[in-house]
C-alpha cells in the first residue's frame, strides 16, 4: 500500500486545496490526509473513484457535494450541508454537523457520530439500486427528512432521551423511511408523515446499517439490535395530489 499523500491545509483557500486534491486523485493517489483543515468548503466536491480522504479538522460547507465514489473520514465537526446532492461514496463524521445534512442525497452513506442541525436528510431520494443512507448517532433538530422521497434516515439517539424532540419530522415525506430509536411523540410528526410499528423484519433490514455504523465509531452494536424503534413513513406517496383543480 502506497503512503498516503499528506497536505497541510493550514491557512489555505479552498480552491487551491481542492485543486490539489483533484490533481492528486487524477495522478492515481488513493489516499489523502488533510491536516489543519479549518472551514475550507467543498472538500470532495464532484470527485469520482474510490479514493479515501482523511480530514483532520473542521471542513466548511458542502463537504462531498455531488461526490460520486470516494470516502471522506472527518475527525472533527462538519458544517452546512455535508453530503449535499451526493451520488455515491461515504462521509464518516467523527463529530456533529450543521443544517441540511445529506440534502437531496441520492446515493452512498453519511454517518454522523454526534448531532445534526435542522432539515437533515431533506429531499433525499432513491432510484433503482441507489438508496442513500443517513445515520445520526446523537439527535437531530427540526424538519428531519422533510420532503423525503427515498432512502433511509436512522437516528440512534445516543445520550438523548427521547432520541429526537424537535418538531416537523418528515413534513411532506413521499418516499423512504425515517427510523428513530425509542418512541416518537406523534405531535412531532410533520404533515404527511405517519408512524408505523417497527417490526422484526425492519430490524433485519436495518441491522447491517447499525452494525456498520457502530463499527466505524467503535460502539458496541448489541444494545441497538432490538425493535425499540419508531418507523416514520409517508402517509401517502402523493402528498400534493388533491390540492389542485384544473382551469
Amino acid at each position: 500500500m502506497a503512503e498516503p499523500l499528506v497536505i497541510d491545509a493550514k491557512g489555505m483557500h479552498y480552491t487551491p486545496l481542492n485543486r490539489q486534491i483533484r490533481e492528486a486523485l487524477a495522478s492515481g493517489v488513493k489516499e489523502i490526509v488533510l491536516n489543519n483543515v479549518l472551514g475550507q468548503r467543498f472538500i470532495g466536491n464532484g470527485l469520482r473513484g474510490d479514493a479515501k480522504i482523511i480530514v483532520n479538522g473542521v471542513p466548511g460547507g458542502d463537504l462531498g457535494m455531488f461526490m460520486s465514489g470516494p470516502e471522506c473520514e472527518i475527525f472533527g465537526d462538519a458544517e452546512h450541508a455535508p453530503g449535499n446532492t451526493m451520488d455515491n461514496g461515504a462521509l464518516i463524521i467523527h463529530g456533529s454537523a450543521g443544517d441540511a445534512v445529506a440534502h437531496s442525497m441520492r446515493g452512498g452513506k453519511v454517518f454522523v457520530e454526534g448531532n445534526i442541525g435542522y432539515r437533515g436528510g431533506i429531499h433525499m431520494k432513491q432510484y433503482e439500486c441507489k438508496r442513500p443512507i443517513l445515520v445520526i448517532g446523537g439527535t437531530s433538530h427540526a424538519f428531519l427528512g422533510e420532503y423525503m422521497a427515498g432512502g433511509l434516515i436512522l437516528v440512534l439517539g445516543i445520550g438523548h432521551e427521547p432520541a429526537v424532540q424537535d418538531r416537523g419530522i418528515g413534513s411532506g415525506i413521499h418516499g423512504g423511511e425515517i427510523i428513530i430509536r425509542g418512541d416518537v411523540d406523534e405531535k412531532l410528526l410533520g404533515v404527511g408523515a405517519k408512524k408505523v410499528d417497527f417490526t422484526e423484519e425492519d430490524l433485519e433490514n436495518v441491522a447491517p446499517v447499525i452494525k456498520e455504523f457502530c463499527e466505524r465509531f467503535d460502539i458496541d452494536p448489541k444494545p441497538f439490535l432490538d425493535t425499540n424503534y419508531s418507523k416514520i413513513v409517508p402517509a401517502s406517496a402523493r402528498p400534493f395530489a388533491g390540492k389542485y383543480t384544473w382551469e
Binding site: Y14, T15, N18, R19, R22, R41, F42, N45, G46, R48, G61, D62, M65, F66, M67, S68, H80, A81, N84, T85, D87, A100, H103, S104, R106, R119, I122, H123, K125, Q126, Y127, K130, E146, Y147, A149, G150, G172, H174, G175, A237, R238, P239, F240, A241, G242, K243, Y244, T245, W246, E247
Partner: protein, 502 residues
Amino acid sequence: MSLGSVPLKYKISIDRDQCMKCMRCVDNCSYGVYRVEDDKILIDSRKCTACHRCISMCPRDAINLQERPVDYRSHPLWTVEAREDVINQARTGKIILAGMGNAVDYPIIFDRLVLDACQVTNPSIDPLREPMELRTYIGKKPSKLEFTKNNGDIDLKTKLSPNLKLDTPLMIGHMSYGAISLNAQLSLAKAVAKTGTFMGTGEGGMHEAIYPYQDHTIVQIASGRFGVDIDYLERGAAIEIKVGQGAKPGIGGHLPGEKVCADVSCTRMIPLGSDAISPAPHHDIYSIEDLAQLVRSLKEATNWEKPVFVKIAAVHNVAAIAAGIARSSADAVVIDGFKGGTGAAPKVFRDNVGIPIEAAIAAVDQKLNDQGIRNEVSIIASGGIRNSGDLAKSIALGADAVYIGTASLIALGCRVCGNCYRGLCPWGIATQKPELVNRIDSDVGAENVANLIHAWTLELSELMGAAGLNSIESLRGNRERLRGYMLDQGLLDVLKIESVGA
C-alpha cells in the same frame, strides 16, 4: 343543489359541403372531439381546446371554430372567467391550475416602446453590404485588462472567466424533458446547434438522445435536484441555478406521477410513477451568502470551467436581488418576467404575481451600472419575448441576450391552447404519449426552430443597421434609441427613457 354545466368554451362545426370525410380530424384530435357513427363525423365541442390540430390538418378548410359561442350577461367586473372560476372552486374547493403564461390583459410595455432609425445624418447601414456583429459573450467581463511584454509580443496577463459564445443574442429557455417530449427537446437541441446558440435542459436531467448536442446546452439545477449528478453538470456548456420562474414566482413545482414514464423516471433518477416535487426554495439557499456557496460549489465541482447562471423571477425588488447575485461569483443573471410560460401553474400566481420583464431589465441594468458591477454578470431576459422587435427592445433596455420558450414551441406547432398540463398535446410537444410524440420529426422541427432563430437574427441586423449600429454592444443598454409611447412618467423613469417626441 347542482351547479349545472358552464357553457361551451369553443364550438366546432364542419362545413358538410366542403368535408370529404378523409377522417384526418378524427385521427388527429387527441382530446376526442370527433367520432364516427354511421359514416357521419359527430362532434363533441365541449372537449375542444382550440389547439387547431384538426383545422391545420383539414385539406378542405371545412372546420370552423368559434370561441365562447354562448353569451353571458356582459359585466365589466364579473367577467366570464371570474364567474367560471368561482363555479369551479365552489365545486372542488381547490387551487386552480392553468397552463401557459399570464392570461390577464395587462398592458404590454414592449408595445409602448418604439425603436429609433437614422435619417439624413449618421446614415443607416445596409446589413447586406456591411458586416453586422451579433456575436454575444455571456459571462463575466474583466474590469480591466493587464498585459505583459514578451520579446516583442504582448501576452494577456488577466485571467478571463469562461464565457458562452453565441452567434446571435437569442437562446432557448429551460423546458425540461417531462414538461415537453423528447422529440420536442431534440428539435430544439438540433436547432441551437445549427444556429450557434444554446438551449436550457430544464430541471429533470438530460436524456442520452441530447448528448450529441450537449455542448449547446445549459444544464439546470433546481430545488428538487432531479437528474443532477456530476456527469450532468460536466455535460452542459453552462450551469443554471433556478431560483424562480416568472409564471409562478415564489413557489415550487411538481411533476405528477402519471407523467413520470420509464424514460422520464430514468432521466430524473426517480422511481416510475412517483411525484417529482420541487420545493419552493432550495433548502441549502436561505440567503445571498448561501447562494454564493452553491454557485461556488458548482464551480469547484466543475473545475471553474463553466459559467454559472442564476435564474430568478422578476419580482418587486429584482434589482437589489440581482445586485446580490452579481456578487455571488455567478456569471449571468436570468430574469424571467411575469408573462413567462409554464406547463402548469396555480392560476392566481400566473396571473397576479411578479412584474413585467421590460421594467425588470431596465431596473437591473441600471442598478448594476450604478454599483459599478455590470461587467460582473450578463443579463439574460425572458418571459414573453414574441418577435425580433421585443428582442431588440430587450437589448436596448440592457439585456445581453434573451431566452425564448413559447415562441420556440409555436415553431414546433403549438397554438398556445394552454392545455399543456393534460399531457395530451396533439402537436406532440407537451405529452409523453408515444403516438403523439411521434408526430414531431425532430429534423423537421429543428429546421422550423432554426428558421425562426435565423429570421429574428436577420430582422435584428436590419433594425440595428437602420439605427446606424453595426455591433450588438452598441445597442445594449442604449436607451437613447428607445422612446416611450403613451407610458406614464413613473414608468418612463424606471425604464430611463424619454417620451416620443422628446
